[in-house]
C-alpha cells in the first residue's frame, strides 16, 4: 500500500497536484458514473455541523463510484459528541471505514483528524477554515471554459472574511492569473493575504466599483455579502445593491466571461442572469460531483 494521504488544505497542493486532480476529475466526468472503482469501500461522512449540500454531494460522488457511505444523522446529541474528544472519535471511526469525510465547526479540525486517523481524511470544511473541494471545483469550472493561465479574474464581495475567495486566490497564485478584487470599504482582502499573493508573483489589483473592471474580466467570482458584517440594514442594503449583478451589468462584458458563485446566493446575482451564457454557477455546483469523485479515488485507491 502506498503512503496514506489526506486532503486537508489547498495550501498543501503544488500546481502539479492540482493539475493531476483536475485531469482525473475530467476523465471521470467523461467516463460517466459506471466506473465503479470504489466498490466494497466504506466511507464515513462525519458532519459535526449541518451542510446538506456538501454532504449530499460527497454521498453522490461516493455512490457513483460504487462505494458506500456511513453517515450519522445528527452528531449533535449522539454519543459521538458527548464529551468525547475529536481525536478519540476519529481513532474509533477510522477503524470502521476506508476513509473519513469530515465537516467540523473548528478551524484546523481536519488537520487534527489526519493526525489521529488510520485511514485517509478529506476535509469537507472546518469552520471558517479550509474547504478544499470547493476550491478544486471552482478551478475545475474555470478550466472547463478556458486555460488557467493568462486570465483576468475578479473576486467580488466579502473578501475579508470569505475563506472561499482566500483559498481560491491562493490556489490561483500557482497560475499566471491577474486577480482583481472588488469590495466595499472594510471588506477588503486582508493585507497578509494580498502580500503573500504578491510575493508569490500574482498581480493583485484593487477596485471599489464593479463597473470599473467588469468589461475586462474573463472570470467573475461573486461571493455572498453577509448582513451581519454591517452595522445596520440600510448600509447593508446600499452595499448589496451596488454589487448586484443584473443583465444590465453584463451588457458590455467580454464574450468569454464566466460568472461563478459558490452558492447559495443571497441576492448577489439577479435570477434573470441565469439564462445568459455567462452564468456558470449551477454548472459549477454540478462539477462538485466529478471533483469529489476524483478526491475520493485519489485518497482511497
Amino acid at each position: 500500500m502506498h503512503n496514506m494521504h489526506h486532503i486537508i488544505s489547498i495550501r498543501d497542493f503544488e500546481r502539479e497536484d492540482i493539475d493531476a486532480l483536475l485531469t482525473k476529475a475530467q476523465q471521470i466526468q467523461s467516463l460517466g458514473s459506471y466506473k465503479q472503482t470504489l466498490r466494497g469501500k466504506l466511507v464515513a461522512l462525519l458532519f459535526f455541523e449541518p451542510s446538506t449540500r456538501t454532504r449530499m454531494s460527497f454521498a453522490s460522488a461516493l455512490a457513483r463510484l460504487g462505494g458506500e457511505a456511513i453517515t450519522v444523522d445528527s452528531v449533535e446529541g449522539s454519543s459521538i459528541s458527548k464529551g468525547e474528544t475529536l481525536a478519540d472519535t476519529i481513532k474509533v471511526v477510522s477503524s470502521y471505514v476506508d476513509a473519513i469525510v469530515l465537516r467540523h465547526p473548528k478551524e484546523g479540525a481536519a488537520r487534527l483528524a489526519s493526525e489521529f486517523s488510520s485511514v485517509p481524511v478529506i476535509n469537507a470544511g472546518d469552520g471558517a477554515g479550509q474547504h478544499p473541494s470547493q476550491t478544486l471545483l471552482d478551478l475545475f469550472t474555470i478550466k472547463e471554459n478556458m486555460k488557467l493561465d493568462g486570465i483576468d479574474l475578479g473576486l467580488l464581495g466579502d473578501l475579508r472574511y470569505g475563506r472561499t475567495a482566500h483559498s481560491l486566490s491562493y490556489a490561483l497564485s500557482h497560475y499566471d492569473v491577474t486577480i482583481h478584487t472588488i469590495t466595499p470599504k472594510s471588506l477588503e482582502m486582508p493585507q497578509w493575504l494580498s502580500t503573500e499573493l504578491k510575493e508569490r508573483g500574482t498581480e493583485v489589483v484593487e477596485h471599489e466599483k464593479l463597473e470599473d473592471i467588469i468589461n475586462d474580466l474573463d472570470v467573475l467570482y461573486a461571493t455572498r455579502i453577509q448582513r451581519e458584517r454591517f452595522p445596520d440594514m440600510a448600509s447593508y442594503a446600499r452595499v448589496a445593491n451596488t454589487y448586484k449583478i443584473t443583465p444590465e451589468t453584463l451588457k458590455d462584458v467580454r464574450k468569454n466571461l464566466i460568472l461563478l458563485h459558490p452558492l447559495p446566493r443571497a441576492g448577489e446575482i439577479d435570477p434573470a442572469v441565469d439564462a445568459l451564457p455567462y452564468a456558470k454557477y449551477f454548472r459549477q455546483a454540478a462539477n462538485g460531483i466529478p471533483v469529489r469523485m476524483a478526491m475520493l479515488e485519489d485518497v482511497i485507491l
Partner: protein
C-alpha cells in the same frame, strides 16, 4: 565569562556550574525564564540582571544565570523568538565550556497558544500547538492563523 563590575561590588555573582544567557534584549529576562519554564519555585539558583550597560552606551541588555543546570539546545532555541541575539554560555567548574548563539526553530511546538478562539488547538484535544516560523511570525499549522508581533502574550 565576564563579571559585571558595579560600583561597590559585582552586580551579580559568577556561577560555578550552569548556564548563562547573555545579550537578552533589555527587559525580556523574565519572559525568557517564562518560556524556559523556570520560575522562582524551581530548585535552581537564579540570578537575573536587567538593564545592564553594554559597551554601546545606547544599548542595555539583560542577563540570566542559572546555577547547576545545563539547558539543552532545543530548550534554548525556544527563546530565540523573543531574544534572537542571546548568547548561551555553559559553565563547568567556573569555566566556559560551550558558547553559542540561539537559532530560530523552523517549527515551534507546544509553548505558544493560537490567538484564534475558533482554532481546534483551543479545544480540549490531546494535541500540542504547532506553528511554522516565517520571518519571525508564527503560522498556526492547524488553522493557518498568523501571529505577528505580540507573541509574548500567547506563551503558555
Amino acid at each position: 565569562m565576564s563579571v559585571k563590575k558595579h560600583e561597590g561590588g559585582m552586580l551579580i555573582n559568577p556561577i560555578r556550574d550552569g548556564t548563562v544567557i547573555d545579550h537578552i534584549a533589555a527587559g525580556e529576562a523574565l519572559t525568557v525564564l517564562k518560556i524556559l519554564g523556570i520560575t522562582g519555585s524551581c530548585n535552581e539558583e537564579l540570578s537575573i540582571a536587567t538593564n545592564v550597560s553594554t559597551k554601546n552606551p545606547a544599548v542595555k541588555k539583560d542577563i540570566v544565570k542559572i546555577s547547576n543546570r545545563e539547558l539543552s539546545k532545543s530548550e534554548l532555541n525556544k527563546i530565540a523568538l523573543i531574544a534572537p541575539n542571546a548568547t548561551i554560555n555553559i559553565i563547568r567548574n567556573s569555566k566556559v565550556v560551550d558558547k553559542a548563539g540561539v537559532e530560530i526553530p523552523t517549527v515551534v511546538t507546544g509553548f505558544v497558544r493560537c490567538p484564534n478562539p475558533g482554532c481546534i488547538t483551543n479545544s480540549d484535544e490531546p494535541i500540542e500547538t504547532k506553528f511554522k516560523v516565517v520571518n519571525g511570525t508564527l503560522h498556526c499549522l492547524y488553522c493557518d492563523n498568523i501571529l505577528k508581533s505580540d507573541i509574548i502574550n500567547y506563551i503558555i
